[in-house]
């Protein structure tokens, strides 16, 4: 009898051991994204979503941003991959993934989903009229500046209406070699130097003609020669991060994507940096409206192999919609969903510069896409980047590089 009892007890314990975790287990949604540990809005989104959806947990699969172009397709290519949601870094990646059958069409879900707040940007994620992803962040570029350095040099802060020539002048004025102060800073990307050519015009970098870039290469090389910015080759070899460069406090201006706002706010809050800063609209070319900028869209799609597509839809629709937008904006990132309410949240973020000028910079006159959706855009990117790196390393002159770009891109198409 005793023996029976103990066996029964043991069996009961076994059952309860098996049953309890099964009951309490949360639904876990796997989201593949980049730099999750260092991107504040991802943390904010996760917290807000989990708070409003009890019983659901978000698990990020974190890929280094630099590895994203190779890692994300590798994960998608796994036949047994169980990830539910993939974030979209570049629009053309989604187009590829759709063609490869990795993206689940949102047709069944999209009926009745309000997309008015995306101001038409969601169309970038549609192929043949079928929506494949929802945008949740829409970044445009602004000019960050260090108020302390402007004050120290006795120079007025940049306004929201600045031409590129005025900007270059300003950068030289602020440079102080003795104190190691640079007037401005260019990160090593292509976009920091020449993407300005697409602002406020119909021109895109996939058009195959690159003569428009000459002005910006000349402008850059003039600044580098005069010591108003750190040399490209040094930055390339050291891999200095733009956030670190700005937060170190020896760079007066920095044209950069809006996403840096949340990083700077976060780092100042955490005590990793201390500086007085502001944002202004990026400079504009002559004949282009002030406040014209370029930018990029970030979104999320549901993996075709996901086994919980309904839940995944719940997540990405929330992420793009007004609630997710508030979470995104709460740490200083700019959501794709634009409304008065969200703009208020953006401006009232603790740590956002309080001046009117910075607030004014939140409303760009126009935002062109950094890269358009176009045929062979991945190959064009490679070519333009190749030649760009040679121009920047002073291996070839800008004129030579631009001619190479024109020729090589033309060769792609005939």
């Amino acid at each position: 009898m005793k023996k029976m009892l103990s066996v029964l007890l043991a069996a009961l314990m076994m059952v309860s051991l098996l049953a309890v975790p099964a009951l309490a287990e949360d639904q876990v949604l796997t989201v593949v994204t980049w730099d999750a540990t260092t991107t504040p809005y991802l943390t904010a989104q996760k917290e807000a979503f989990e708070a409003s959806h009890p019983g659901v947990k978000i698990e990020y699969i974190d890929v280094d941003a630099a590895d994203w172009p190779t890692k994300a397709p590798s994960i998608l290519a796994q036949p047994n991959d169980k990830s539910d949601v993939f974030m979209i870094k570049e629009i053309d990646q989604l187009i590829n993934w759709q063609a490869q059958g990795y993206a689940a069409p949102l047709t069944d879900y999209i009926d009745g989903y309000d997309m008015s707040g995306f101001l038409g940007t969601e169309a970038n994620y549609a192929v043949d009229g079928v929506q494949y992803a929802i945008p949740f962040r829409s970044d445009f570029w602004v000019l960050f500046y260090n108020k302390d350095l402007f004050d120290a040099a006795g120079v007025a802060y940049p306004t929201n209406d600045l031409t590129w020539d005025q900007y270059a002048e300003l950068a030289k004025k602020l440079t102080d070699k003795d104190k190691g102060v640079y007037g401005t800073h260019y990160h090593t990307w292509l976009s920091t130097v020449v993407n300005w050519a697409v602002c406020g015009t119909d021109y895109t970098l996939a058009d195959g003609k690159y003569d428009n870039l000459l002005y910006f290469y000349k402008l850059y090389q003039d600044l580098e020669d005069s010591g108003a910015c750190m040399a490209y080759d040094e930055l390339k070899a050291s891999g200095l991060k733009y956030a670190a460069a700005f937060e170190n406090g020896n760079v007066a201006m920095l044209p950069m994507g809006y996403w840096l706002v949340s990083t700077v706010i976060g780092d100042i809050k955490a005590g990793n940096a201390s500086l007085n800063w502001g944002i202004a609209a990026v400079p504009h070319a002559d004949g282009v409206a002030a406040g014209s900028s370029f930018g990029n869209l970030t979104g999320a799609m549901i993996s075709a192999k996901s086994e919980q597509k309904d839940l995944a839809w719940e997540y990405i629709s929330w992420l793009g919609g007004p609630e997710g937008a508030k979470a995104t904006a709460s740490v200083g990132a700019r959501p794709a969903w634009v409304s008065a309410e969200v703009a208020d949240v953006m401006a009232s973020v603790d740590g956002f510069p309080a001046d009117e000028n910075s607030k004014g910079a939140l409303l760009p006159a126009s935002v062109a896409m950094e890269w358009p959706v176009a045929d062979k855009v991945a190959d064009i990117k490679t070519i333009v980047n190749d030649e760009h790196s040679l121009i920047m390393a002073r291996e070839i002159t800008p004129e030579e590089g631009i001619e190479e770009m024109n020729e090589r891109v033309a060769e792609l198409f005939n």
Partner: protein, 318 residues
């Protein structure tokens, strides 16, 4: 012997043979299964895949295209139009082939000279084990750590440029950001890392040279240089041949140093064959053309190996 006995013996032999074969297979199986699944099948698939177009996605998207991928990577249409110069100066395959060949052509002799010099110096001193360990050490240290260390040292204000400036040469760029110096940076790191390994091979070969040969040369009145040229070098010929073949093969497979130090840049100036394969396969997701490039690599490496096998007799001592 009667018929029946022979039959019985044959039967027993057959059974034994079968039993032996079974035992042999049981020895082979653990390795062979892994080997077949993870090496043999992929090798065969690689050849086949180069004849297909597959840009990722489900396996049903596989489409047979024959030699089209080869046509694309060799830029056949353009070459027919603009001549061979187009292939080597503009096409990705041509440039990465050219870079790989340049890298190999400089690295192999440089490594051989360094390895041989070290081996000869070490051979003169009995019991200099510590030196052998030191020279060999870079070979076992991890690529990522030493590559990042070297690229820091080759930075604009790094110690190497400080020395160069001290010598009166005006060079103030980071090596990896300059298209000529980037190649040299990669070569330098490769030579530095591998010389110890080949030094060991040379050392063994040097110690294998019969003492009598040397003594005979000395008796004949040869001075040190003549002794080296007429006795040591010819005796080292098989080793040198073997070492060069191995090094050519491993040079054609270079990836790590490039991936960590330059990522193929600036521009395409350090883009190598394997860098190109990696890019096509994992970034551009063009499995077909990636496999076609892989076949180019395969043909080159196999070609070198065949040369080695066929001339082994010519160079062997006996």
């Amino acid at each position: 012997m009667s018929q029946a006995k022979v039959k019985k013996a044959r039967y027993r032999m057959g059974r034994m043979e079968r039993k032996n074969t079974l035992i042999a297979y049981s020895f082979l199986a653990p390795n062979f299964i892994g080997f077949a699944v993870f090496t043999l099948v992929p090798v065969i698939c690689a050849i086949a895949l180069s004849l297909f177009e597959w840009n990722g996605g489900d396996i049903s998207k596989l489409r047979f295209v024959g030699l089209e991928n080869y046509g694309t990577i060799f830029a056949v249409k353009k070459v027919a139009e603009k001549g061979l110069g187009y292939f080597f100066n503009r096409s990705d395959l041509g440039i990465s082939l050219r870079n790989t060949v340049v890298y190999t052509a400089v690295t192999v002799p440089l490594t051989i000279v360094c390895a041989l010099a070290l081996a000869i110096l070490l051979n003169k001193i009995r019991g200099a084990m510590a030196f052998r360990t030191i020279f060999f050490f870079p070979y076992v240290s991890s690529m990522v750590a030493i590559c990042v260390c070297w690229s820091f040292m080759m930075m604009r204000d790094g110690p190497i440029n400080q020395v160069i400036m001290f010598l009166g040469i005006n060079f103030n760029k980071s090596w990896t950001a300059d298209s000529t110096m980037a190649m040299w940076a990669i070569i330098l790191v490769s030579v530095w890392r591998n010389m110890g390994y080949y030094m060991v091979l040379y050392l063994a070969a040097l110690q294998g040279i019969p003492r009598e040969l040397m003594e005979a040369a000395t008796v004949d009145g040869a001075n040190k240089w003549q002794q080296f040229r007429n006795v040591t070098l010819p005796q080292l010929k098989p080793t040198t041949f073997f070492v060069s073949v191995m090094m050519v093969i491993s040079c054609f497979k270079i990836f790590d140093v490039v991936a960590i130090m330059t990522d193929g840049g600036p521009g395409r100036s350090t883009k190598m064959l394997v860098t190109y394969i990696y890019d096509e396969a994992f970034t551009k997701i063009r499995y077909g053309s990636a496999s076609a490039i892989a076949m180019v690599l395969l043909v080159i490496v196999l070609g070198v190996t065949v040369i080695q096998f066929s001339s082994e007799k010519k160079f062997s001592n006996d």
